[in-house]
């Protein structure tokens, strides 16, 4: 599904290398987690994959089902099946949540050469998906993320994911700022989307989210590279001992 090879990335504005050769291979249906200390490059990886401005790829590649993502515009990456759930979902005053969802869904369909969804089918779909995430009609009517609580914003991200049905979902610190109940709700939303054809990359500081979204593979990222890969037990090791030992091993 997602193949990242020797990815090197620096900031456009300053001569600072953030990613220094990331290799990652995620097969269809797998859930991978990336853990790591602050400043290790986790969020940068998610931004570079989704095409945010301000980063320069100096070496390497990232392909989604064989297609080079790094040469695509952000909207083309989305249409190709990539989805990033933001750590800090963006507020857009003046754009209704429903309008936003429908515009995004139809834009992706158009880019893929598919017909637009009818108003009736869209409403049915959004109501059904919103219900399972406990998103009420009021939240759907409000402007995108404006005045939403932290938990509402993250649920709204998962709703977008559920509506757009991407192949490759990247979750950037989706657990940050959530209490236990909100985290469970979000995790349930994610788990409901797990399927043979869909893969996940879960970026997180803490092991606790991985209690709810069980990963197949866990990677530890530090200083712009993946320094260790293992099974779910690796996450527990971090939880118990912190990153210090792993970082010491690396040096």
């Amino acid at each position: 599904m997602l193949e990242i090879r020797n990815l090197h990335v620096k900031l456009e504005e300053e001569d600072k290398q953030i990613l220094k050769g990331v290799d990652l291979s995620i097969k269809a249906g797998e859930v991978h987690a990336i853990m790591g200390p602050n400043g290790s490059g986790k969020s940068t990886l998610s931004y570079v994959l989704s095409g945010r401005d301000g980063y320069e790829v100096t070496e390497g590649s990232a392909t989604l089902e064989g297609e080079e993502l790094l040469e695509m515009e952000p909207e083309e990456r989305a249409a190709a099946g990539l989805f990033l759930a933001f750590q800090y979902p963006v507020e857009i005053p003046g754009v209704g949540n429903m309008t936003f969802l429908r515009t995004a869904l139809n834009a992706q369909r158009k880019l893929r050469g598919e017909d637009e969804i009818s108003a009736g089918d869209f409403l049915k779909l959004v109501r059904e998906k919103a219900k399972t995430l406990k998103i009420d009609a009021e939240m759907l009517k409000r402007p995108v993320n404006v005045g939403f609580s932290g938990g509402e914003k993250k649920r709204n991200e998962i709703l977008q994911m559920a509506m757009l049905e991407p192949k490759m979902c990247v979750l950037d610190e989706t657990d940050s700022g959530l209490d236990v109940d909100a985290m469970k709700l979000v995790a349930e939303g994610v788990n409901a989307l797990r399927s043979e054809g869909r893969s996940f990359l879960v970026i997180t500081h803490y092991q606790r989210l991985l209690d709810h979204i069980k990963p197949d593979v866990v990677h530890i990222m530090a200083n712009g590279r993946i320094i260790k890969t293992g099974g779910p037990e690796l996450a527990l090791e971090v939880e118990n001992n912190g990153y210090a030992n792993l970082l010491a091993e690396e040096n």
């Binding site: 989704s50 095409g51 945010r52 401005d53 515009e73 952000p74 909207e75 990456r77 989305a78 249409a79 990033l84 933001f86 979902p89 963006v90 507020e91 857009i92 005053p93 003046g94 754009v95 309008t99 936003f100 515009t103 995004a104 869904l105 834009a107 992706q108 880019l111 402007p143 977008q160 757009l164």
Partner: protein, 430 residues
């Protein structure tokens, strides 16, 4: 006489030499003579006048207007979704043949050119009176010029709830038309009218709209100012609001070489509402000026000013908005926001918000901002699959939404939104 005033009066003398007052009965002749006297005392403005610092009045001062090729008719006729009484003005002259008859249940309608022939008329108590009242403390010479020389327009007396909206449609036919139109609307107690205006309809267009809203009456006003890029327009609204009355006005302006929309809203009765809003989109060469003056002279009144401008390719937007709260106008609630979205580094927004308050128990707020499209929001939309241009258009419309939201009627609001959207598609996809 100061040198400055002398220069202003010399400019006026040149202008007056080329004008002649229309003939009329005693009531209108008296009003025109008073207006001419006001104008002669003021002269025509120059760049050194405080309220003309940002907009050069030269095009309005000129003896003859610059020639403008009439624009093709709108592909989509404005307000077509609304059942209304349609009245056409071509180059500022009423076109009786194309217009509906001057009949509307709840409303008495008469053409100024006809009423002016009589010796008396109900409009005598308002024609030029609200304008004269609005000359202090800020002079508005082009409004006085309008009152003194307007030959056409409508006198509208609303006695009940008007059965349908009244729609004034302005069209241009001659390349050098110099239109001067003057309308008076008198809303009697408890009555209600929606007035629609569209087009600018002349190479140079000067209009005055005097509105007297009696106690408990409601006036809705929605206008679009056409997209013909060379025309110049100066418009004035003078409104007086009685107790528990409502005045709501919205203007959409797309392009035009120069547009100055002035409004003086005088809240004289307790518990009145005055809302005025505008959405302007301007491409290359556009200059758009909103100059608003709101006077709170009674208790518990609310006023709102919501102005949004989207500017690109060197367009210039101007906002001069003032709230004056007189002594004793307690519990006043005044709100003013003026914002611009600059789509490139060449465009400019000049704003001068003013508050002057002489009462001690009031709530007044004002804000003015100027900025570019939010890059983070743009990236967020694109990451969800929305192409860049579509995402930009969505954000621009979102920026304008607060102003459009000031229109109560959903059908009219949706039409304005659609018109702005298609303008953006035409001007940003190139």
């Amino acid at each position: 006489m100061s040198a400055l005033l002398q220069a202003k009066q010399e400019t006026l003398a040149l202008r007056l030499a080329a004008l002649s007052q229309p003939a009329g009965g005693s009531w209108v002749s008296a009003a025109r003579a008073d207006a001419l006297a006001r104008l002669q005392a003021m002269g025509l403005p120059g760049r050194r006048d405080e309220y003309w610092r940002y907009t050069d009045p030269a095009a309005f001062n000129a003896v003859t207007p610059a020639a403008v090729t009439p624009a093709a008719a709108d592909a989509v006729v404005p307000f077509e979704a609304v059942e209304r009484v349609k009245l056409y003005f071509v180059d500022g002259v009423f076109d009786e043949a194309r217009s509906d008859s001057l009949e509307l249940a709840g409303v008495e309608l008469v053409r100024l050119a006809d009423a002016a022939q009589g010796e008396s008329h109900w409009a005598a108590e308002l024609y030029g009176k609200l304008e004269a009242n609005g000359q202090k403390p800020v002079e508005r010479p082009f409004a006085a010029l309008n009152t003194a020389f307007a030959a056409d327009g409508l006198l509208i007396r609303v006695t009940a709830q008007a059965e349908r909206p009244l729609s004034l449609i302005y069209e241009q036919s001659s390349e050098t038309s110099d239109a001067v139109l003057h309308h008076v609307v008198k809303l009697e107690a408890g009555s209600e009218l929606t007035l629609l205006e569209n087009g600018v309809g002349a190479a140079r267009f000067n209009s005055v709209l005097e509105v007297d809203v009696a106690d408990g009456a409601t006036f809705h006003h929605v206008r679009t100012q056409g997209r013909d890029s060379d025309r110049r327009a100066i418009t004035h609204i003078f409104a007086r609001l009685g107790s528990e009355s409502t005045f709501k006005s919205f203007t959409m302006t797309a392009n035009g070489n120069l547009t100055r929309n002035e409004a003086v809203l005088d809240l004289t009765g307790d518990d009145a509402f005055a809302h005025i809003a505008g959405a302007c989109v301007g491409d290359e060469g556009v200059k758009h000026d909103d100059t608003i003056f709101i006077i709170h002279g009674a208790e518990r009144c609310e006023s709102r000013q919501v102005f949004k401008k989207v500017l690109m390719n060197g367009a210039v937007g101007i906002f001069q908005g003032k709230i004056l709260v007189k002594q004793g106008a307690q519990k006043t609630d005044g709100y003013q926001i003026s914002q611009s979205l600059l789509l490139d580094g060449d465009s400019q927004f000049l704003a001068k918000p003013e508050l002057e308050i002489y009462a001690d128990d009031v709530k007044c707020s004002h804000g003015s901002t100027s900025g570019a499209i939010d890059e983070t929001a743009l990236y967020y939309l694109r990451s969800r699959g929305v192409p860049k241009r579509q995402a930009e258009a969505l954000l621009v419309l979102a920026f304008l939404a607060e102003a459009i939201g000031e229109i109560d009627d959903e059908v009219l609001g949706e039409e304005i939104r659609t018109r702005l959207e298609s303008w953006l598609n035409r001007h940003t996809n190139g």
